[in-house]
Symmetry: C2
Subunit: 460 residues, 2 copies
């Protein structure tokens, strides 16, 4: 007979920092959505909608975005390089992809993609990333300042591990934030403080105070506004004539976001400029505790930063695929702007304009900033006091209450704004603009109908 003793590890006895953190994009609404998804699969027709619309996470390919052909061809060839010598291959793969895959394979110390690499990533791939940064910024980038990483999240965690000594160390962070920052700061024992957000001000302030800039630049390709463009923090600093003796900057980028949305591949890099060799060695050491980033992600990151160029055989098809994604995001941003804020009708093309102008009507109790970049809108909800009271009675905050109701009624999964540390006393939801134009136009009336019913129910 065994002597039963309950295991000693419970949610009460684990690391209390773990208990405190929250990561709402994959949090309670996301998990409730997964349960509903299972319900739909097991009992079709049992819910008032046929599918879950996952607008909680910036996860383009989960909502039907196609990967870039060139990227996937190169990955596929590097996985199975015996193809490079087969007669059938040129009929199945573009010349460009074959050439690039061969170049990558030749540059690997062991000529295969199964070995551990250097903890900061394969040198030739870091070189490709550095070249891409130099071309983007017009200022040089050194491959020895590049660390390839398993997505930007791993890089953020690594830097927090390096920088935070105790709760006396504070990280200034603009709010609303992306929750990896608060989670990582809490897990590493630091303190988060709200910061200023103007790029040049930040550079001046950090230079004067000797602070490190951690620049989350994963949406550098996602700009949907005329006359606006991405400027990296390093470029801003260099343009102000500050070099690496003046200022330490870490830039995070990833193959998950941007236009390509290769999220599940966990590719990314950080560029660390303005750090001494001693600190770089410590970063290298911490990176080596997990030995190296995954190779497919390393390759993908090099392709993102060094895609086919004018003159390359694949350039036109690559450019067309990229443009299609970009213009689709641009259109979706416009549709959402149109519905959630009272502007921008004039800038629509005539067809869309006519259709939508008729339908257009800004929603009661919603105000929203214009979407000019990234993948999300973040409308503020001005809810009736009875809704707020009901939420309180149910023991949840109003944004969680609203997001739950929205999901149960429509199958649309969003993230409660409190997951991003919305301003105290305000109520927001975050919704990714990932469904394609057609679907987003179908989704918004459902969202509107829910919202109107919700407002009506609680206004009484």
């Amino acid at each position: 007979m065994s002597y039963n003793k309950a295991p000693s590890i419970t949610a009460e006895t684990i690391n209390p920092k773990v208990k405190i953190i929250s990561y709402e994009p994959c949090g309670q609404i996301a998990r409730h959505a997964e349960r509903l998804q299972q319900e739909i699969e097991e009992n079709p027709g049992s819910l008032p909608f046929q599918e879950i619309t996952y607008c909680n996470l910036g996860n383009p390919q989960a909502l039907g975005q196609r990967p870039i052909t060139f990227f996937r061809e190169v990955l596929s060839l590097c996985d199975n390089p015996t193809l490079l010598d087969k007669d059938e291959t040129p009929s199945l793969y573009s010349t460009c992809a074959i050439k690039r895959a061969r170049m990558i394979m030749d540059s690997l110390p062991s000529k295969n993609t199964g070995g551990y690499t250097s903890s900061r990533g394969i040198k030739s791939l870091r070189q490709a990333v550095a070249d891409g940064i130099s071309a983007r910024d017009g200022f040089p980038s050194d491959p020895d300042d590049i660390f390839l990483t398993d997505g930007a999240s791993a890089a953020v965690n690594l830097m927090m591990q390096i920088l935070i000594r105790s709760s006396e160390d504070a990280i200034l962070c603009p709010l609303p934030e992306y929750p990896i920052y608060s989670a990582s700061i809490i897990l590493h024992g630091g303190t988060m403080v709200m910061s200023i957000t103007n790029q040049e001000e930040i550079v001046e302030f950090c230079r004067k105070e000797g602070l490190v800039i951690l620049a989350d630049e994963v949406y550098q390709d996602n700009v949907y506004a005329e006359n606006k463009k991405f400027n990296s923090f390093k470029k801003v600093a260099r343009s102000l004539d500050y070099d690496e003796n003046d200022l330490s900057i870490v830039s995070f980028h990833s193959s998950s976001m941007g236009l390509y949305g290769e999220s599940g591949r966990r590719g990314g890099y950080m560029e660390i400029s303005g750090f001494g060799t001693d600190v770089k060695e410590q970063i290298y050491k911490v990176a080596s505790v997990t030995i190296c980033p995954n190779i497919a992600g390393q390759i993908l990151t090099s392709l993102v930063m060094d895609p086919p160029k004018l003159g390359d055989e694949s350039f036109e098809s690559f450019q067309a695929e990229k443009e299609k994604i970009h213009s689709s995001f641009w259109k979706r941003a416009k549709v959402c702007n149109l519905h959630f804020i009272r502007i921008d009708v004039a800038s629509l093309d005539t067809g869309t304009k006519n259709t939508l102008e008729k339908a257009f009507q800004s929603m009661e109790g919603i105000s929203c900033n214009k979407i000019e970049g990234a993948l999300y809108f973040f409308p503020r909800l001005h809810l009736p006091s009875r809704a707020i009271k009901t939420a309180k009675a149910e023991g949840v905050s109003p944004d969680i209450f609203y997001a739950h109701r929205l999901l149960d009624a429509t199958g649309i999964a969003v993230v409660p704004g409190s997951g991003f540390q919305q301003a105290s006393g305000t109520t927001h939801i975050r919704c990714a603009i990932l469904p394609d134009e057609e679907k987003i136009e179908a989704m918004i009336p459902r969202l509107r109908a829910f919202h109107e019913a919700f407002m009506k129910e609680f206004r009484r």
Copy 2:
């Protein structure tokens, strides 16, 4: 003019825990080896050897081991699934791989491999892993207890993050250890204590004391001893009639080690049995801070645990490739055992025996346990006191001194035993048995010649 202020982050101002840790398999000897490698490339003939023999890291494919064809075919098809519908594909890929890739693609919620997945991994792949564990142990495994991870290292870090609250929490660890344990325990603020090593004793002790077993089972396929086989901790516990109400066990496995050596792919899993739903939810939450493990690694892990079976078209070729790797490791273990310990000559096949018996001569000042599993030998060095004094004068420990000398003289990179917390007052090196039989037979005389010269130099 810019006002120059040195950046405030130096090795003195970073997290002191980072400064303390060491990770010697990628540490000073490894980095010195990389510098020598560069020297060889830039000035061929400038060193007394033509290549670096990397025996510092368990990294089989970096030393020429070929990947399993079936695994790479499946990965390649999942990267570029348009191939699945091409007429040429059946001539390029095995039917088995095509079938498996199609099954995996169909099981993905978004039917593609570019999206974020659940933070614990794709359900169908977790099911494959659980099925593999059930078949291996003869006890059931629940896919909801499986977390797919970016290699075993990521899983170890995750569990340390969950379990360690402060330096009052101790992790019992057998010594010599693999240094991710000490590094991860230090980074998470815990305390490491040396433990007992008998499997049944550990189970009984942990059950009585209510302790969690963290079982590093990444070498479960690497056993090179007659009449010995791998038994998982879970199997041992279940065989003693302890169920998940009695004991919490976490088992780590990886696609990096085992026989397949897909190290750079960062695939792995942990099976957590005997934890409540509340703890599992906290583990899920911490996993979600980096969103999800990389998809190629997830797929690979499912293939490792659910490879082609008897009756499958690819079974024989898969089995042959696997057997070839296994028997090669077995032979290498024998060669090393023969040279480093005075036993086992009888068990060699006649050819090898005749060649080696002539050469056989155990080395002065070296004693070594027999290699019966994993990828390494860990000889103890009994060095002359003058060598120890010289090391001290140079400010390094004798093992580091010896490993540096070995690398500079022969190009063989090993890891100083202090990187694994060798017993105090002893001197060891760790050497991976990765060069193939031919190369390892060529390497050992070089190692021997170096060792004899070293002993002679310091005995005088």
